[in-house]
Amino acid sequence: MMNKKLIVFTLFVFLYFNSLAQGGDDFIRSTGKIYAVVGVILVLFFGIVFYLVRLDNKIKNLENNQDE
């Protein structure tokens, strides 16, 4: 479940970037492409969060099984 949501979210982020990148003098390429750097930082952040969410789920399963 969580994985599907994250994949859809990632797709939306890429589509959003794509829509910003239309034309030559667009928003992301303005001010020396600084927003491309912001995009890179966001991808890095969400990549690590993605793994942490998976780890969280794994620990939750372990906790739930412990009582049985």
């Binding site: 890429f14 970037f17 794509n18 990148a21 992301i28 390429r29 001010t31 020396g32 492409k33 600084i34 491309a36 750097v37 995009g39 890179v40 930082i41 991808v43 890095l44 990549g47 690590i48 993605f50 793994y51 942490l52 780890l55 794994k58 620990i59 372990l62 099984n65 412990q66």
Partner: protein, 357 residues
């Protein structure tokens, strides 16, 4: 959380905070963003309009500009009229005997003022020779008293512009991945030498986080490429080889998933991990250097090797690697602790269940 044992986790957070603040807030040096036309026709009044980046042309008092054909043929602009803070119109007298033999000559534009320092537009211009001026001698000028802007600033490079800051994120995460995979390799070798389950679990944990780093490395590169090359992915050797290296590590997890728990799985995956590491070295470090590429740092593109990795970049780049490595070790330890809990859980079932007796 016990500070005494977990000081390095605080360190990871503090260094990352420093990297984000310094990496995003230190300004860029001034540079030449572009010119109105890169192809010039040599005449008595060759006019070129230059657009600067981070420039203060209107505040500068001594604005000078040169066109450099080769080390001994440098022409000084005879007039400079500043339009606004980042635009200036330069007029050159090129109705002279230009060096070389071809009809068109490559040339470099250099501008200098006392606030922004000097800026170079390397090999950015193409000058068409005026054949009728062959008998008029070249008026030599020298590049002297170039100014250097004050304060800590990141270097300005063509194509890269502000994305030189990706050194601290995209490049640093590849470096961190490399080190974490080396740690995983050491644990794999240790397992083959002495088959202890904790070695196998450590190897798995470190491989998992380095694979996450590798995927982030590919994805951050794709975001950058979209805005610099116009496509998320190109058929560039460096890109494809990096993708192959990441896919080989993917296979490590597929291999583990396809085998049942036990010594056989641990041994197979340890051996595969060593193979994957040995395959990664040529894929990431050797093959991309043998081929031409659009990637910064290959084939004369601006990047961070040698003189390009400026001291101000190093000041943030090395801490960024250290911080990402510490985060990687932290997350790998979390994964390892999950293994330990699972083991305890299995022991409990085995010892506590009446079915076993």
């Amino acid at each position: 959380m016990n500070v005494k044992n977990n000081w390095w986790k605080f360190l990871a957070v503090i260094i990352m905070l420093y990297v984000l603040l310094a990496g995003m807030l230190i300004p860029m040096k001034s540079g030449i963003y572009g010119v109105d036309s890169i192809s010039l026709i040599a005449s008595k009044n060759t006019v070129i309009e230059v657009e600067g980046y981070n420039a203060n042309y209107d505040k500068a008092k001594e604005f000078r500009a040169w066109i450099k054909f080769d080390s001994s043929h440098i022409a000084l602009a005879k007039a400079v009229s500043v339009k606004n803070y980042n635009k200036a119109v330069l007029t050159f007298d090129l109705n002279v005997n230009l060096p070389g033999t071809g009809d068109v000559l490559p040339a470099t534009l250099i501008i200098d003022n006392e606030i922004d320092g000097y800026a170079i537009f390397p090999e950015g211009l193409v000058v068409t020779r005026n054949a009728s001026a062959a008998d008029i001698p070249f008026k030599h000028a020298t590049l002297d008293d170039l100014h250097v802007s004050e304060g800590i600033k990141f270097p300005y490079m063509n194509i890269l512009h502000e994305t030189i800051r990706n050194t601290f994120f995209h490049v640093a995460i590849w470096m961190a991945m490399f080190l974490l995979m080396t740690v995983a390799l050491i644990y794999s070798v240790l397992y083959l030498w002495k088959p202890r389950l904790s070695y196998d679990h450590h190897a798995y944990s470190f491989t998992a986080i380095s694979l996450v780093y590798g995927i982030i490395g590919l994805a951050t590169g794709a975001v950058w490429a979209r805005f610099s090359w116009g496509a998320y992915w190109t058929n560039d050797v460096r890109l494809n080889m990096a993708a192959v290296a990441v896919l080989i590590y993917f296979a490590y997890f597929i291999l583990r998933g396809s085998l049942e728990d036990g010594d056989k799985r641990s041994r197979f995956s340890a051996a595969f991990n060593i193979f994957a590491y040995l395959a990664m070295i040529p894929l990431l470090l050797v093959i991309p250097r043998l081929n031409d590429s659009l990637h910064p740092g290959v084939g004369g593109n601006p990047a961070f090797s040698g003189e390009d990795l400026d001291n101000t970049l190093r000041m943030v780049f090395y801490p960024a690697i250290i911080s990402l490595i510490l985060f990687g070790v932290w997350i790998a330890q979390l994964r390892f602790r999950v293994f330990q809990l699972e083991e305890k859980h299995i022991d409990k079932i085995n010892s506590g269940s009446p079915l076993v007796e």
